[in-house]
Amino acid sequence: MDINVAQLFQTINLNVIMPEVILSVLGMALLLVNVFVPSKSKGYLAWLSLIGIIGAGFVAVTGWGTTVSSFNDSVVQDSFSIFFKMIFLLAAGLAVLISDQYMSREDCNHGELYPIILFTTVGMMLMAAATDLMTIFLGLELMSISLYVLAGFNRDSIKSNEAGMKYFLLGAFSTGFLLYGMALIYGVTGTTRIAKIAGLVTQVGGAGNTMLLIGMFLTLTGFLFKIAAAPFHMWTPDVYEGAPTPMTAFMSAGPKAAGFAAMLRLLLVVFPAMKAEWSDLLWILAVLTMTVGNFTALRQDNIKRMLAYSSIAHAGYCLVGFASGTATGMSGILFYMLSYTFMNIGAFAVIVLIGKKGEPNGTVMDYAGLGHKRPLLALAMTVFMFSLAGMPPTAGFIGKFYLFSGAVQAGYIWLAIIGVLNSAASVYYYLRVIVFMYFKPGEEEFDWFNVSAPVALALVVSAAGSLIPGIIPSLLLQFAQQAVKLI
């Protein structure tokens, strides 16, 4: 039972986790750079991170179309993981771009922010790429712990503290369930490698094996918590509201996608045999999530909180596609998470710009008159809002189209109908922002804020990303299809 080192190294293909390695190394380097470069402004760290993120992206893309596993099957590089890695990198890149202006304004411009964002990204990427319960768990925890820090990053802000604390306690609590679930799965199958588990599921009785079934559901709850599905969603509004805005943006896009990535892999690879069971559950949760998210968002004045509820609702839409269990719906999730990253971070970028120190002006009413004073900014916000609302010709529409199509294809007509009705209700609160921006005069003298270059870049990218895939979605959709097909 000696360890054959040569043999061990044969199992290791670093290329598979090269993007993660790049980001980790970069993160550590930036920690050092931050200490040794005596610059008050931390903007350069943002640019450095961005370069790393783009680099990681390029490295990641090269593996498209292939399926290579490494580390004794504990991690894999396939189109599915690459697609999600792109989403995470995108979210991280955009978050990095909009952070500096916000953090400088809020006086918590600590250079550690960027490494932590990068480590979070590493965690998310591992979640998407992991083929071992343990790797999934560690990826999840790496992501979560970093996010706890990011949520409470503005330590002088009571709201930020509160957000961090709530996120931490509830996150850790949900981890308990997740682990219990994993323990049960392990107990029934005797392994943590999901490929092996998958092979054993029917052998141990499939859905008839209660312990396995419950293990699956408990594991699922852990991910449902991350994607903010009802009734595991309650942390979302508070944390989103309290966390620093760029981090909220990041949190709303990245971890949600990561949660879906892990869930997709778990349910599609490991438990396809129990589709009847999980599909039923997700059906109900989708309805619940959409409804709770949308209906509560209707009554929100605080725009961050409103977007938090809206993000719950969007998780619900994705669950619609998930519940369908069809390739259409699944690819819809991938596409939707990508476009959601664009449009939601875009919207938060606008919030970053509008906000003042301490965010005393976080309500929808504070957007009154924006359409006349900053037409371009308002136009961008309009694009994001319409995209979130799912109006053609935005990416949001195509995404929803595929999600609901999946449901229809699987015969869940009512689910699709509830989905579209929810979507119609959601239009009200997205339109409300537009109403204030364009149809109401601004009350006071308008403060001219500057739009820093990184934020402007983020806005342009987000707007383009919300709009262009709405008009020519074919390519992205095909990528999403391939990604889903390959797992």
Binding site: M165, K166, L169, L170, F173, S174, F177, T210, L213, I214, F217, L218, T221, L224, F225, A230, P231, F232, M234, W235, P237, D238, E277, L281, V292, N294, F295, T296, A297, L298, R299, Q300, A425, Y428
Partner: protein, 667 residues
């Protein structure tokens, strides 16, 4: 052969376009008036030529369709812009363009100095155009175009003095009431078109085609439905019960309008239409009886109102309604020729009467204006003794009055007597004939009475106009008097083209020209009647007796009028005070307008208001907004689940886990 027929409606249309578009620029009244009159006169010339051509044909071929272009065609439905020239339409052409020309000429004088002079002539030309379409259209739809067109012009011309609210109201009333009739017309058209096509595969609305296939129609049944619908149309246009109330109000329009539209031409469209569709009407005994009874009732009813009116034009208006009733009696008893005959003679004498009254009003108005009096120039109580100021007007007016009263030798006598005789003797309605005849005769008595009351109050007796004004009264200019003379002449002699056979035989076999002339038009109807109705033989003596009775009735009416308004003028006042309620009721037109307001207009408005405020806003929109409110309220409630307390959140998570696990454990 009749290639130039399209010119007939074209001239007035051109006149309308010139006056309507450029009239404001032209400004010169003479030119505008001339254009208007010339347009109609040109039509008249062409009409005469057409008429001559037509009677040159053998009587069997006197029905010519001239297609101009295809108007619309969709599926089985096809309608052309095409004209039908036959004896009936030709007769109407002559009447319309002839009288039209005269009235245009008259209007040049009458409307002198009015604001919007050009507008008046434009409308008048447009009216003539529409009327010509109505009478020459070879299919129901084109007829309907004219039908609505004349209604529009009537609306426009009644509302000519649009700044007067009453004028606007009257115009609207006329249009809406006509629309009610049009509704019937449309339904009739639809049913006719559908039934024939459905059952016999003949999809047509063309008159000649329909007439050709008349024998396919059954007696009664669907034909009753169709014809009653058409008759509803006719009551609207021709002001019969129950849709007659607009006509008296229509007197708000300038007098030439009353003469042309509301006496001579438009209002007779209903009669004309029944004549056109005689082959169909005759096949429904029920409808025929309805037509006759409604006509008789209207004749009598309107006449009663006419006896108590003081406005000179209103008297004439009710008289018109009453006379139209006669025409409908004629149609309803199968005496189509007689009906058309009365239409024609009535056009002559009633146009003359209206124009005469117009001359009087014109004169009165001028006189009152001179002394800055605001007395009503149309109120007969302000008149009296005008004959010495306006002798020519008086003469023509008198001739026409005698004609309408039914004094033998004048045109009205022939036509009216023919109708009454047919009402009495026709084979269609059995014992109801007596009722129809009785009402007709009573109406004749009242007609003679109120018409002579009118003459006596206006032209005879003492002059009651405000002191100082009488010296400004004067005879009208030639441009006004000339049409009067022509029309009076026609009223005098017009009856001789339709001398009843009985009289004609006495005078050496003078034929009934009109009956001969119109024979092909009504051939189908007459054949049918001959075949299906049992003809009772009536002796000549009975006919003579009734004719004599008519004459007696006419003279009795005149005598009563003379007694009451010349010999002992205090009797009417006594009568009024003896039966105040009756007088008030008659004076207020039996409160029919009020009844309509109460029964239809107000409920409609209330219903509309209720539907708007009560239903649309409250219920329909209420549901919509209610859903929104419920959603919002729901959102407002469930947001409080979000307490901000971590243990609640944790509890909710645990709850979720427990429910999920529990569900799958106990499933």
């Amino acid at each position: 052969m009749f290639d130039n027929v399209w010119l007939i409606p074209l001239f007035p249309l051109i006149g309308f376009l010139i006056n309507g578009l450029l009239g404001k620029k032209i400004k010169n009244e003479t030119i505008i008036g001339s254009i208007g009159a010339l347009a109609v006169f040109s039509s008249f010339i062409v009409s005469v030529l057409t008429f001559i051509k037509l009677i040159g044909l053998p009587s069997a071929e006197r029905s010519v369709n001239i297609k101009i272009f295809t108007w619309m065609t969709a599926g089985t439905f096809n309608a052309d812009i095409a004209f039908l020239i036959d004896p009936l339409s030709c007769l109407m052409l002559l009447v319309v363009t002839g009288i039209g020309t005269l009235i245009h000429i008259y209007s040049i004088g009458y409307m002198h100095g009015e604001e919007g002079f050009y507008r008046f002539f434009a409308y008048l030309n447009l009216f003539v155009f529409s009327m010509l379409l109505l009478v020459t259209g070879n299919n129901l739809l084109l007829m309907f175009v004219g039908w609505e067109g004349v209604g529009l012009c009537s609306y426009l011309l009644i509302g000519y003095y649009f700044h007067k609210k009453s004028a606007g109201d009257a115009g609207k009333k006329a249009f809406v009431m006509n629309r009610v009739g049009d509704f019937g017309f449309l339904l009739g058209t639809f049913t006719l078109f559908w039934w024939l096509g459905q059952n016999h595969g003949i999809w047509t609305i063309q008159f000649t085609e329909l007439a050709k296939n008349a024998n396919l129609f059954p007696t009664g049944g669907v034909v009753t439905v169709i014809t009653l619908c058409f008759f509803l149309g006719a009551t609207g246009k021709s002001a019969q019960i129950p849709l007659y109330t607009w006509l008296p109000d229509a007197m708000e329009g300038p007098t030439p309008v009353s003469a042309l539209i509301h006496a001579a031409t438009m209002v007779t469209a209903g009669v004309y239409m029944i004549g056109r569709m005689s082959f169909l009407f005759i096949r429904s005994p029920e409808t025929m009886m309805t037509v006759a009874v409604v006509g008789a009732c209207t004749a009598f009813f309107a006449a009663t109102i006419g006896t108590a009116q003081n406005d000179i034009k209103r008297v004439l208006a009710y008289s018109t309604v009453s006379q139209l009733g006669y025409m409908f009696i004629g149609m309803g008893v199968g005496a189509f020729t007689a009906g058309i005959f009365h239409l024609m003679t009535h056009a002559f004498f009633k146009a003359c009467l209206f124009l005469g009254s117009g001359a009087v009003i014109h004169s009165m108005h001028g006189a009152l204006h001179h002394i800055h009096s605001h007395d009503d120039a149309q109120d007969m109580r302000n008149m009296g003794g005008l004959k010495k100021y306006m002798p020519l007007t008086y003469a023509t007016f008198l001739i026409s009055t005698i004609a309408i009263a039914g004094v033998p030798g004048f045109s009205g006598f022939f036509s009216k007597d023919e109708i009454l005789w047919q009402a009495f003797s026709n084979p269609l309605h059995g014992s109801v004939n007596m009722l129809i005849w009785g009402l007709g005769a009573a109406a004749a008595l009242l007609t003679a009475f109120y018409m002579f009351r009118l003459v006596f109050m206006t032209f005879h007796g003492t002059c009651r106009i405000k002191a100082g004004a009488e010296k400004h009264l004067h005879e009208s200019p030639m441009v006004i008097v000339f049409p009067l003379l022509v029309l009076a002449f026609l009223a005098l002699v017009g009856g001789y083209i339709g001398i009843p056979k009985l009289l004609g035989d006495v005078f050496g076999g003078i034929p009934n020209y009109l009956e001969h002339y119109l024979e092909p038009v009504f051939a189908n109807a007459n054949e049918y009647m001959a075949a299906h109705a049992h003809h009772a033989e009536h002796s000549h003596s009975l006919e003579w007796g009734l004719m004599g009775l008519s004459v007696v009735i006419a003279f009795v009416g005149i005598a009563i009028a003379y007694t009451l308004y010349m010999a002992s003028p205090e009797i009417p006042k006594k009568f009024t005070s003896a039966f105040p309620a009756l007088h008030r009721a008659v004076f207020n037109k039996w409160y029919i307008d009020e009844l309509y307001d109460f029964m239809i207009v107000n409920p409609c408005k209330s219903l509309g208001r209720f539907l708007w405020k009560g239903f649309d806003v409250l219920v329909v929109d209420g549901i919509v907004n209610g859903v929104a409110h419920v959603v919002m309220a729901f959102g407002g409630v469930i947001r409080y689940m979000q307490t901000g307390q971590i243990y609640n959140y944790a509890w909710s998570m645990t709850f979720g886990v427990v429910v999920i696990i529990g569900y799958y454990l106990f499933k």
